[in-house]
């Protein structure tokens, strides 16, 4: 009997959701917009211009708040990134609001989960666009950034992405897309230069993830090394690999005197362990992953003895700006910040700066101001827009000491 009741209850529940799906009319838009807006804000005017957002004048919500969209991978295969993104952006907003807001208005975030997959990502950005935001930060995955860039150029508001694929500038030229992290080109080149010039290595092993992040860097490093006539060996692995013995052994067998590792968090930790276990005892230059606290947590300090890191950001940078940020973040969330937090924290400040310089919250004015950014100091570095709307042009070299990143130097790359 009990089971039957449950059954009909569930059936009814599903029926309701189905009817919601079928009705299709205008009522549904309003309802779901109201729903979706509710938790993110309290009484904002965000929903004011619903229904006309695709017409192109998405921005400029008149009211006492300025709405900024956030596309973050909260669910899916990289949930850490999403959480950090949200934390970083939220912290910046809180700080700015506490200090009086921007142009006398309070900032407000509208966060949508992009799930780390294309369809959900597209829907997330469409949803953000329909809320009447003045700008959007995220997504971080290059694949998603490429998938949604068309949407924002149609909706006409600036988007600040932490994606790093070279394709974002080589295959498209979107006036609305700004990049707030150093391109893989810059970082990878930095790694290659450091390996050959500072460490004096002559035979370099490349160990990269086959995803956009790793393969993008690989192309850059291979081109650089070929140009300089330096010998190299390339090995790759896939996201989610559980064993890298064969790649490590192949590198070891080739007799490399340095390895450049370019991959994500989980794989970096796995590589660190297997390099150590299998006795690949050469200097390693890692991507930004290796200097993040979550990867340090996964590694025994001795695995990282001879590791360097090419990164956007390290908490060990003793500049005052960084240290203030680190302390504030720690006070708020009880953890050290990492790359995604600092990226989107800085991005919000960049937006604030642009809005103030533009003196308006009109998306195209913001865009113009963003494009003129020159020398804004933020924890992640110095923002200076170039012709391709890239904001960061350098990277930090760290050395791993006792399993923690130690700031060595900040290198500016001319491009």
């Amino acid at each position: 009997m009990k089971k039957r009741n449950l059954k009909s209850l569930m059936a009814a529940l599903l029926a309701i959701s189905m009817l919601a799906g079928c009705s299709g009319g205008g009522a549904q838009t309003a309802a779901s917009n109201a729903d979706t807006t509710a938790p993110a804000d309290s009484g904002s005017s965000a929903a004011a211009n619903e229904g006309e957002s695709s017409a192109g004048d998405a921005g400029a919500a008149e009211g006492d708040t300025i709405l900024i969209g956030v596309s973050a991978s909260i669910t899916g295969s990289a949930p850490t990134n999403g959480m950090r993104t949200e934390q970083g952006a939220q912290m910046a907003v809180d700080e700015i609001n506490a200090a009086g807001g921007v142009l006398g208005k309070q900032l407000e975030l509208y966060v949508a989960d992009d799930g780390g997959v294309q369809d959900t990502g597209i829907n997330a950005t469409n949803l953000i666009a329909s809320q009447g935001v003045v700008a959007q930060v995220g997504p971080t995955l290059s694949g998603l950034a490429l998938a949604v860039e068309g949407i924002v150029s149609e909706a006409q508001y600036p988007i600040l992405v932490g994606a790093t694929s070279p394709k974002l500038v080589t295959t498209i030229d979107n006036q609305w897309l700004f990049r707030v992290r150093a391109s893989d080109t810059i970082q990878a080149q930095l790694a290659a230069v450091y390996a050959t010039e500072n460490l004096g290595c002559t035979k370099i092993g490349l160990f990269t993830n086959s995803n956009d992040y790793g393969s993008g860097a690989r192309t850059v490093v291979e081109e650089y090394l070929t140009e300089k006539g330096i010998e190299f060996v390339s090995e790759s692995h896939n996201t989610g690999d559980t064993d890298m013995t064969s790649q490590v052994l192949k590198l070891k067998d080739a007799g490399v005197d340095c390895v450049i590792v370019w991959t994500d968090d989980a794989e970096t930790a796995l590589a660190a362990r297997q390099f150590y276990d299998l006795g690949l005892d050469v200097p390693v230059i890692g991507s930004t992953s290796i200097s993040t606290p979550q990867v340090n947590e996964l590694c025994q300090p001795e695995w990282l003895d001879n590791w360097y890191s090419c990164t956007d950001f390290t908490t060990s940078n003793d500049s005052e700006l960084v240290q203030t940020f680190v302390k504030a973040f720690n006070d708020k969330y009880g953890e050290d910040p990492e790359l995604y937090a600092v990226t989107y924290y800085s991005a919000i400040y960049l937006l604030k700066d642009a809005m103030e310089r533009a003196g308006s919250t009109d998306p195209s004015a913001i865009r113009d101001a963003l494009a003129e950014t020159d020398g804004l100091e933020v924890p992640i570095g110095t923002y200076k827009a170039n012709d391709m709307r890239e904001m960061i042009h350098g990277g930090t070299i760290c050395k791993m000491v006792d399993g923690k990143a130690q700031f060595l130097e900040y290198v500016l790359v001319e491009d």
Partner: protein, 324 residues
């Protein structure tokens, strides 16, 4: 319990008309995009319905098929400049070959083997798509996949594209209905019903299954191609096992083996996660729980509710409508 065939077609027709009417009232790109996704999903699921719905063979390789359709059409049109009309035909043909090629080993055997082979196949496709970077662009994807036009009329907006694929969905739906109602549809259902009896009637069960699988692959590849041209961008990140599973969920939630069910499933499953976004952090877990509940308590899908709700269907409607 069951909807009579005639009623079912009325509902299908009504749903399509409702679909066509939506863009008149809603101009929000968010919803238009979801509509496009719904209709593409619908086309794929019309196909999956043949093998998994009617014939009862569990296919977990839709993502691989979909990917091959998408890459075939995208690469041919983007890199060689061939008209997308032709490349979409090529994608369907690729689906045909795939159905034949993959159907043979996996359909020789009964039970879970097809699920496992198709799952393995889908993973193989994904790994190749990820690593053949020079061709597929890997996870960085392929962009600038051209949209196309009908004569001088370019499908350059999402609304226009929506009407185009809606038209295709109608055609595919009519084809589906005709196949379901033909002797082939009867054979498909017979395989699911009692596979042991088929061969003694002079029918080659393997051929029937391969035919159903090939149809599924052709619909799937076509859906993939439409998807590629709709988004203008594809990445190997999209074609995961989760995608294959999503199609089976659509099939299951709507009602297995029922074309109206396929449509309802596409609508609900595409829209539900979006509607649940207001739950914030809990929206995915809520969505999954709802689907789990529907698997356990609503095995005949949402279409079966129709009968339950009205409760008045005294028609001894036979299974002619393609209901299982």
């Amino acid at each position: 319990m069951k909807i009579s065939a005639k009623n079912q077609y009325l509902w299908i027709g009504a749903l399509f008309i409702a679909f066509a009417a939506v863009p008149v009232f809603i101009h929000n790109n968010y919803y238009i995009t979801i509509l496009n996704q719904m209709v593409i999903n619908m086309i794929v699921v019309f196909g999956l319905n043949f093998i998994t719905g009617l014939t009862g063979q569990m296919n977990l390789g839709t993502a691989g098929i979909y990917a091959i359709g998408a890459y075939t059409s995208a690469l041919l049109s983007r890199n060689l400049g061939i008209s997308p009309w032709l490349t979409m035909m090529a994608a369907i043909f690729a689906g045909f070959l795939l159905g034949r090629g993959l159907g043979y080993p996996s359909l020789k055997m009964k039970g879970v083997y097809l699920s496992l082979t198709t799952l393995a196949f889908s993973e193989i496709v994904r790994i190749f798509a990820t690593n053949l970077i020079d061709i597929t662009g890997g996870t960085q994807g392929l962009n600038n996949i051209p949209r196309f036009g009908i004569g001088p009329f370019m499908l350059d907006s999402n609304v226009k594209y929506f009407y185009f694929i809606l038209l295709i969905a109608v055609i595919m739906c009519v084809l589906s209905i005709r196949i379901v109602h033909s002797k082939w549809g009867r054979e498909f259902r017979a395989v699911k019903d009692n596979p042991d009896a088929i061969e003694s009637l002079g029918l080659d069960i393997k051929k029937i299954k391969i035919r159903a699988f090939t149809l599924a692959a052709m619909y799937g590849a076509f859906g993939g191609a439409l998807y590629a041209h709709f988004n203008g961008y594809i990445t190997s990140l999209s074609f995961t096992t989760d995608l294959s599973i999503n199609y089976v969920i659509i099939l299951m939630v709507g009602g297995i083996g029922n074309i109206l069910g396929n449509m309802i499933g596409s609508i609900v499953v595409t829209l539900l996660p979006e509607l649940l976004r207001f739950l914030g952090d809990y929206y995915q877990i809520t969505y999954c729980t709802l689907v789990l509940i529907s698997a356990l308590f609503l095995p005949n899908g949402l279409v079966s509710l129709y009968g339950k709700i009205t409760g008045l269907m005294k028609s001894k409607s036979t299974s002619e409508g393609g209901e299982s």
